[in-house]
């Protein structure tokens, strides 16, 4: 328990991704089984058994601590686990002997729900405040120490000098406390068996295209597809089970039960884009976003925002692994599989025909008007390779839009940027009272500038601060930032009525007077395309044809 408590403490305070990786890698390399396996479970998929912790703790605290003092403390601390950890009666011990994590988990797993309260109390009695906190975070589900499941797997790869893709490929075939995994990583066991299981296979990702890549393309050797504005998913189905994975290998099946049932009974691994499709048209990304990160889905959400998968690749057909075959063959097999099987809530991402690079460029130029994110270009000969291999697949995003905005607020960054005002809120002009105009915020950006530009922006913010609210500085309206973004959407959650997708600082217009920055009207005009209907599901060929 001690090592785990230290792990939770250290992770909670680490300020950079690298630091977290170091801490995790050190823990995995130096902690014995099964403790490290349970810790891994706690940080990734959560630890069994689940219990109604909030109610159990309320009962236990009521027997031990004055209720008013508990309530005042909880309000002040703001976190139940931490409050209980600090308030639990003890004699100021600095416990030298705390039970091992494995023992703690065994005790809980071996018990029925009626015994949970007594076991909880016994464990809290046995350890000091930092361990109590770690223990409550452990049984409470997600410990929220700023560590994703993906980062945890990366640390595992670092600790045992493996490629993360090897770990991802076996991950979903494993169960806590992951003894077989650590045996394999440590060299004392065989690679865990994944056949017959709906496990995740690492995805093949595309590189952004540059002029040189583009010039070297040979029409006829390249397949073009629309770039869909959804999320990349993998469907892995065996006869027993179908699962949906995100691009990072997180199992998101629970949030999309309709997709899971659509593919139930198949034996296949597919690559595609998850979208929300209403009445045959792709809904804005926002609709999909509302369906993400849920453990269960309300029927109403299922009805109002139905999910759909647009397929573009086939990795496994039955037990046959197609990944070494060229895309042209995989595509044929995909078409054949889909027309034979016809799973509901799915279609194929159509190929976009073109006969010359000029024609391709014209098609690309039309994507914004069509409400399409851009094009994907894939070599027909490309095998399916995990990661982001060079020279096979490219993404060609539609050209960004830009607006000249006025810097309004700045906040300090975190980690290496902790002393810099590096996060900027900017606005555009709209009519105010009488003749005056006022600024209304339209977005936030914290990238797109060089280190030297950051120094200059930071100095400008400090010299032009008019007000401070905690970590936020309001600045005088005097600096124009040319903001590049992918799209502007109508949004009732923002004061301006607009939400920006992927904003970044394109240029700092030191030269431009703030009064000449853009107006809300101009911004609204740019948002026009994003509220029009998207291309219909199942549509083939050019969306304008």
């Amino acid at each position: 328990m001690r090592a785990f408590a230290r792990l939770i403490d250290d992770l909670g305070r680490a300020r950079s991704r690298n630091r977290k990786l170091e801490i995790l890698a050190r823990y995995f390399a130096s902690t014995p089984d099964p403790d490290r396996g349970w810790a891994l479970a706690a940080l990734t998929d959560g630890l069994p058994p689940r219990m109604p912790l909030r109610r159990l703790l309320a009962d236990l605290m009521a027997e031990r601590v004055d209720p008013l003092l508990y309530e005042l403390s909880r309000d002040f601390v703001g976190d139940t686990a931490e409050t209980v950890a600090l308030l639990w009666p003890d004699d100021g011990r600095d416990c030298d002997q705390s039970p091992a994590l494995g023992q703690v988990v065994d005790r809980l797993r071996g018990a029925g729900p009626r015994e949970h309260a007594a076991i909880l109390a016994g464990l809290l009695d046995a350890v000091a405040a930092p361990e109590r906190y770690a223990f409550l975070k452990l049984v409470g589900g997600a410990p929220r120490v700023g560590v994703s499941a993906r980062l945890t797997r990366q640390a595992l790869a670092d600790a045992f000098a493996r490629d993360i893709r090897e770990i991802e490929e076996v991950w979903h075939a494993l169960a806590p406390p992951y003894g077989a995994l650590f045996d394999w990583l440590g060299g004392s066991g065989a690679r865990p068996e994944t056949a017959n299981l709906p496990v995740f296979r690492p995805l093949m990702l595309a590189n952004p295209i540059d002029d040189e890549d583009f010039a070297a393309l040979v029409p006829g050797e390249i397949a073009a597809e629309w770039k869909w504005d959804g999320i990349r998913v993998q469907i892995a189905a065996t006869r027993g089970d179908a699962r949906l994975y995100s691009r990072t290998g997180d199992d998101i099946s629970a949030a999309f039960p309709e997709i899971r049932s659509a593919f139930a009974g198949a034996e296949v691994v597919l690559d595609g884009e998850l979208l929300v499709v209403r009445d045959g048209a792709v809904a804005p990304f926002n609709a999909l976003q509302q369906r993400l990160n849920r453990r269960t889905v309300a029927p109403r959400l299922l009805r109002d925002s139905p999910a759909h998968v647009r397929l573009y690749d086939l990795l496994l057909d039955g037990r046959e692994d197609l990944r070494a075959l060229p895309l042209s063959v995989r595509r044929e097999r995909l078409v054949a599989w889909h027309s034979a099987r016809r799973p509901p809530l799915s279609d194929l991402s159509p190929l976009v025909p073109f006969d010359s690079l000029d024609a391709l460029r014209r098609i690309w130029s039309s994507t914004r008007a069509a409400g399409i994110e851009g094009l994907m270009l894939k070599r027909m000969a490309s095998p399916y390779l995990a990661g982001r291999p060079k020279g096979h697949w490219w993404k060609w995003k539609r050209a960004a839009q830009t607006l000249d905005c006025v810097l309004m607020y700045a906040v300090r960054g975190s980690g290496k940027r902790a002393s810099y005002y590096s996060d900027y809120t900017f606005g555009v002009w709209r009519p105010g009272e009488g003749e005056a105009r006022e600024l209304v915020p339209v977005g936030k950006a914290y990238s797109g500038f060089t280190d030297a530009e950051l120094e200059a922006l930071d100095a400008w913010v400090r010299a032009h601060t008019t007000e401070r609210f905690g970590p936020v500085r309001r600045v005088a309206p005097g600096l124009v930032l040319e903001i590049a973004f992918d799209a502007l959407y109508a949004s009732s959650r923002h004061k301006s009525g607009l939400a920006m997708r992927f904003p970044r600082v394109h240029r700092i217009r030191w030269d431009k007077p703030a009064a000449e920055a853009d107006s809300l009207e101009t911004a609204q005009a740019l948002s026009g395309d994003s509220v029009e209907p998207r291309p219909a599901a199942g549509q083939t060929g050019h969306p304008l044809s």
Partner: protein
């Protein structure tokens, strides 16, 4: 002692300027300039410039002069611990409060009724100041900065051990420790020296004058060096640098090598507080009484009445009430709720 017909609330009571003793004609730790002030200790929310006359311990007077200049009050009078003096019709004595160097409880008596105004205090040992002495009284006036049962003192030596361990685990990184300039800074240095750390400790320029004063007043701090005030890269990997909390996330901090940001404060017991400040190494070192200390001390004085000046008064008033003590919040203005 039993209650006298003269209710303490009539001769010692809160005013807009602070706690006022009528028979003596003086305020204690007033928030605004007054004719005559008795000051418990040198922190800026208790010791303010501009009073006609200030009575305090010699150390507190020296601190006020360094902070505000020799003309910070019309007249300074010093009173050693344990010596009784008369102001108007009241008698006044200063007793160590254990908070910082020179910090005192003000013991005021009038017509046989005794009130103790404890200012800020702690019960934990501190190598830089005299330890707290409990004084029996009828009315005990207390702070409540850490008056919630979640605040439990941990031995400061243990926290110093954590700092030194981090220093040896991360020898390539500057250890930048946020400390309040008066009291915490010097206590931390003294604790490091007691733990055997004899290397030069580097100071932000703002901390230097009070460290010099502590040394002058007999608190040995060992080798200290000021970080050069210009903007150059100071580096200092593997060294301890002390700075005021406000400098931790300021441009000033960029000159150090991949710093470990630490902060020595009682607030660091709460994870959210450390997180908000971006503190990587929180050190729970407090110059205030913890929950147990506050409750125990108030009961130890035997006071029938306890007045709470500032902090989380609701919890303390509630707890003392359970022990049969009439406690109430004075809700005095001007005190720094965050003081530590």
């Amino acid at each position: 002692m039993s209650m006298m017909p003269d209710q303490p609330g009539t001769w010692l009571h809160p005013t807009a300027d602070g706690l006022y003793c009528g028979p003596g004609g003086f305020h204690i730790d007033p928030a605004r300039p007054v004719e005559r002030a008795v000051v418990t200790h040198g922190h800026s929310d208790h010791a303010r410039p501009g009073h006609g006359a200030v009575l305090a311990t010699p150390e507190t007077v020296a601190i006020m002069k360094v902070r505000y200049g020799a003309d910070a009050a019309g007249r300074f009078e010093t009173l050693d611990y344990g010596v009784t003096t008369r102001i108007g019709d009241a008698s006044v004595r200063l007793v160590p409060a254990g908070h910082i160097l020179g910090s005192a409880q003000v013991v005021v008596e009038w017509r046989g009724v005794r009130a103790v105004v404890s200012g800020d205090y702690k019960r934990a040992p501190d190598p830089t100041c005299a330890p707290f002495e409990p004084v029996a009284c009828d009315v005990f006036v207390t702070e409540a900065t850490f008056a919630l049962p979640v605040f439990r003192a941990v031995p400061a030596e243990r926290e110093i051990g954590r700092l030194l361990r981090s220093l040896s685990d991360e020898p390539g990184r500057t250890h930048l420790v946020g400390v309040y300039g008066l009291g915490k800074c010097q206590r931390l240095i003294a604790l490091l020296r007691h733990a055997g750390y004899d290397r030069t400790i580097h100071l932000h320029g703002a901390l230097a004058p009070l460290c010099a004063l502590y040394e002058e007043l007999g608190v040995a701090l060992g080798p200290l060096a000021r970080v050069a005030p210009d903007g150059g890269r100071a580096g200092l990997p593997g060294e301890i640098v002390l700075a005021p909390p406000s400098a931790l996330a300021d441009r000033w901090s960029r000159r150090f090598t991949d710093p470990v940001t630490a902060f020595a404060s009682g607030w660091m017991a709460i994870r959210g507080r450390a997180r908000q400040r971006g503190v990587e190494l929180p050190l729970v070192i407090s110059d205030h009484a913890d929950w147990t200390g506050l409750v125990r001390t108030a009961l130890e004085t035997g006071a029938d009445e306890v007045w709470v000046t500032h902090g989380r008064d609701d919890a303390l008033v509630h707890e003392l009430g359970k022990h049969g003590v009439a406690a109430r919040a004075l809700a005095l203005v001007g005190f720094d709720d965050e003081g530590d």
